[in-house]
């Protein structure tokens, strides 16, 4: 255990170093396998070359290093990795520069999958998914925009026509079949709009 501690105290973010001691109970040996299950690649093949951090636009701005995150995943530090996953802009620069063909951006996406299932759900995800479930679109136009559209002579938006009910029904059925609504804890409002 002493060995693990030594590796980590050198590269840990301040927040983490407050709680320096990482015991075996904090490590999840199945974490790498879980990441693969949610569509990531095998983190154990990471060479720790640091190319991904070097090209990451986010790492310039905040204490977030792609390589470090992958290292945490290798050790199975589940709790520490799941918190900051929504800062990746999925620009895929890391993927283009990864010599191990690991696709770190997809790894972040796999971590988001796991985080959602642990109940770490950012509010905007709920808002967008609820919009889709209730209105059949994630972004909805306001009154002013609809007026502007009329002024431009653009076709009437399909989602404001009666035929859209059928589309909404299809979307609700798909989301309920994949149990996405239960995953996020959202529900279609009956008789809304």
């Amino acid at each position: 255990m002493g060995e693990v501690e030594k590796v980590f105290t050198s590269g840990l973010a301040e927040k983490l170093s407050e709680d320096k001691i990482i015991t075996e109970d904090d490590l999840d040996p199945e974490f790498a396998a879980e990441i693969i299950r949610y569509g990531g690649k095998d983190v154990m093949t990471c060479l720790q070359c640091g190319n991904c951090t070097g090209v990451c636009p986010i790492s310039l701005k905040i204490e977030y290093k792609t390589r470090t995150t992958i290292k945490y995943c290798q050790f199975g530090m589940r709790k520490q990795t799941l918190e900051t996953r929504w800062v990746c802009a999925t620009c895929y620069r890391c993927y283009e520069h990864c010599p191990a063909d690991l696709n770190p951006a997809e790894l972040m996406i796999a971590l988001r999958h796991i985080a959602i299932r642990e109940g770490i759900i950012p509010p905007f995800v709920k808002v967008a998914a609820t919009n889709l479930l209730q209105y059949g679109m994630t972004v909805r136009p306001d009154e002013a925009m609809i007026k502007e559209r009329v002024k431009m002579g653009l076709p009437v938006l399909p989602q404001t026509k009666p035929g859209w009910e059928e589309v909404k029904k299809q979307i609700v059925t798909i989301i309920q079949t994949t149990k996405y609504d239960r995953l996020l804890g959202i529900a279609p409002k009956e008789g809304s709009e």
């Binding site: 995800v125 679109m137 136009p141 035929g163």
Partner: protein, 307 residues
Amino acid sequence: MTYAYFFGCVIPSRYPGVEYAVRWVMGPSGLKLDVQDVPEFSCCPVPGIFYSTDRDTWLALAARNLCLAQRGRLEVVTVCNGCYSSLLKATEYLSEPKKMGQVNKVLGKVGMKYTGIPEKSGDSGRRIFRPVSVRHFVDVIHTDNVMLELANNVKRSLSKVRVAVHYGCHYLRPTEYTAIDDPNDPVKVDDIVKVLGAESIDYEDKLSCCGAGGGVRSHVVELANSLCEDKFKNISSEGADVIVTPCPFCLLQFDNAQKTFTKRGIPVIHIAQLMAIAMGADISKLGLELHNVSCNPLLAKIGEGAK
């Protein structure tokens, strides 16, 4: 092949001017391409939200859109990098028989089935299917014939305009799927800008991210703004008149983020709007006054200033 417009969510409800420009450019008054509407198209769905949280749901919803294109034997034209990467990735996922089977089980509940577009069967009597083709607006325009037509249709001179092109990440990457342009030295949008007669300037870190994607703008808006500021500094130091992008989400990001760090913003427009301006469309209908950063300096430069 007939194209189908896929505008997605952001364009129709936030930047209707882009929709007008695309319809005008591709339609009878512009390049006379064969395009039609599919009113049942819904959200692509957003990769930063649905692809990030549940791949199965994402794939089923994307496959629903692809089924609609398959029914009409249409080629999907997306005007947004997000829709493009989401739908294109979905066609790749669906080329795996196992995934296709899983998705069709879900789609069966709504009476749909994704197979790809059936081709004429060969001599052996086997039916052959071709995946639904998903194209980016820029890719559709950037063909020899269309570019020639475009060059012949330029009516307004943009010769004094210095354009900073921002490609946006999902137009270029990951090259695993979206290899329509060189990821390290993309040319297509620059080419279109040049054909329109404007000058496309080079600036530092041209291919870097605007900061909006992957849910960053929705989640940590300060971080998104700060990335955009870096990009803005590089662009403004080269003296650009306008930022042109093929993605409405990058457009939204530049348009909204600029007010947080500068008073003298650079106008941002979609490539379709620039094309419509050059090809002589009615500027008052391009929705430029709906942008947060005033486009008047740009219009003054091309001699179409506010009356």
